[in-house]
Amino acid sequence: MTDALRPAWSEPFLDGRRDALRRERPIAALDRDAAFGGSDGSGVLVAVIDSGVDGANPAVGGRLVESVRVELAEDGPVVIPDPEAIDVVGHGTACAGIIHELAPGAEIVSVRVLGPDNRGKGAVFAAGLEWAIERGAKVVNLSLSSRSEALMGVFHDLADRAYFANVLLVCAANNVPGPSYPSLFASVVSVAAHDVPDGWTWYYNPRPPVEFGARGVDVEVAWRDGGRIVATGNSFAAPHIAGLAALVLGKHPSASPFEVKAILAATADR
């Protein structure tokens, strides 16, 4: 498949195209109540790997329990505490806010891999992901990806480690063609945006690599310094699915990544 011909990831989820998502479901449509009724995500730790999370932003509801940042030292990336919990852009706070909106009981840990001191190098990102897996997060939201071919092996290994440790990686699909890790690996949940203004509407796409469509157009999100902003992008679709996964895991703590994926597919609007 040449890059130029690769379809735009959000295309299958847009108005007018969604009829193509209809299919004979292998599992009967599951009742959402059975999937996560009564759960608010309590007991589930969700990691947000991004630009940091502003813990004081009301949208995060005080659920930020830990903040770290990754810095590039001479002999490689190091993870250090970031007790001030700042967000250098606003983007990580936006993602955390969406997760909190859907799963208000979930605890959030922020891993800042972007900041004034680095350019979000792939190695820093990989170190952040590794830390999140080891920290015991059950869901990791990745509204960013790396294009470094050199790090493909590293990310593949981390995606496998997450999968075998029952950690669900939820990744925003990239709008720009070309390699994108780990968002295009089979074991992760890859998410693009749909244009329905409802966070509780999501779609399953039986034609991977992008399997889920969630709200990502004109979403009012929290931003840095307590602000709010209206934003569009796959970045904002991923945390919707991360929030839903937290709800499922709140009700079914033993569910493995593939079971959570199957439950989300079976409870999708289409």
């Binding site: 130029a4 959000s10 295309e11 847009l14 979000g120 790396s146 990239n174 902003i229």
Partner: protein, 279 residues
């Protein structure tokens, strides 16, 4: 200097002249990309910022649209604002109601003389990573950018990346020379792409030394008459036909004079005119 080295120097000098005569061919492609973007989106402005490794900043290189030009030459930190976010994460995104939030990158926007309501930012990506950002500001009909717009901007960004990659390779004489030599040595392709077979480190070092000798002091002296001439000729591209005609007549006279002087100098001494690469 060996015959081969003299030959390489000659190639380098001619390639440098051609590069200067091309006069920002790469920029012309970038400009056409932002102009097409403005037209297609019916946007107030579009711009391209490229990462400048020397300063570590994103520099706005070209812009189009009624409100676009104020941004040219401005630079921002690579993680500043929405352009910085798209650059550092490689994620495309769109924001609306930007102006209503006073915290959002307003200081940069105000420097350009135009504070947008909505922005689309998509990363410019080539095989080696993210090299810059394409931004589109405000649709003229006041509507917000849709997801389709974000994806469409991504297609334009891809065009721009290809153009930048191509023009960077041509624009850099040393890189061109190195790519050619590597290709002759059987490593890498002529476009400067990734090598299929690696050269031994000592061959790599020898190649670097060769390229350095061929390009050394090539562009050191910007006041060199030949480069000044090349730059002027490049600028003539925008001149009207009558001026070009006049200049051709003037040049005819000058060239005849130069030939005459050169002949008489050759008779008088062994010195040759500067700018003759075979000298």
């Amino acid at each position: 200097m060996t015959r081969e080295e003299r030959l390489l120097r000659a190639i380098a000098a001619r390639s440098e002249t051609a590069r200067r005569l091309e006069g920002g061919g790469g920029e012309a492609v970038l400009r056409s990309v932002v102009e097409a973007t403005v037209a297609l989106f019916e946007a107030e402005a579009a711009s391209i910022a490229l990462f400048d490794a020397a300063s570590g900043r994103l520099v706005f290189e070209v812009a189009a649209g009624e409100q676009g030009h104020g941004v040219i030459g401005l630079s921002i930190g690579p993680d500043q604002g929405i352009a910085g976010y798209a650059f550092t994460t490689g994620q495309a995104l769109a924001l609306s109601d930007v102006a209503s939030d006073p915290r959002f990158g307003r200081s940069v926007a105000e420097k350009t003389g135009y504070v947008p309501r909505s922005i689309v930012a998509v990363p410019l990506v080539d095989d080696e990573g993210t090299i810059g950002v394409l931004q589109v500001l405000d649709k003229r009909d006041g509507q917000a950018f849709s997801l389709r717009d974000v994806e469409l901007a991504g297609v334009f960004a891809r065009q721009a990346s290809v153009a930048i990659r191509a023009s960077r390779v041509e624009r850099d004489t040393a890189a061109l020379l190195r790519a050619t030599l590597r290709w002759l040595a059987g490593a890498g392709d002529i476009t400067g792409g990734a090598a299929e077979t690696e050269l031994e480190p000592e061959d790599e070092a020898a190649l670097d030394a060769l390229v350095r000798r061929a390009t050394d002091d090539l562009a050191q002296d910007e006041s060199d008459g030949l480069w000044r001439l090349a730059d002027r000729v490049a600028r003539l591209r925008d001149a009207d036909p009558a001026s070009v005609e006049l200049l051709v007549d003037l040049l005819d006279v000058l060239v005849r004079r130069a030939e005459k002087t050169s002949r008489s100098r050759h008779r008088g001494s062994a010195a040759t005119g500067r700018g003759d690469p075979d000298a």
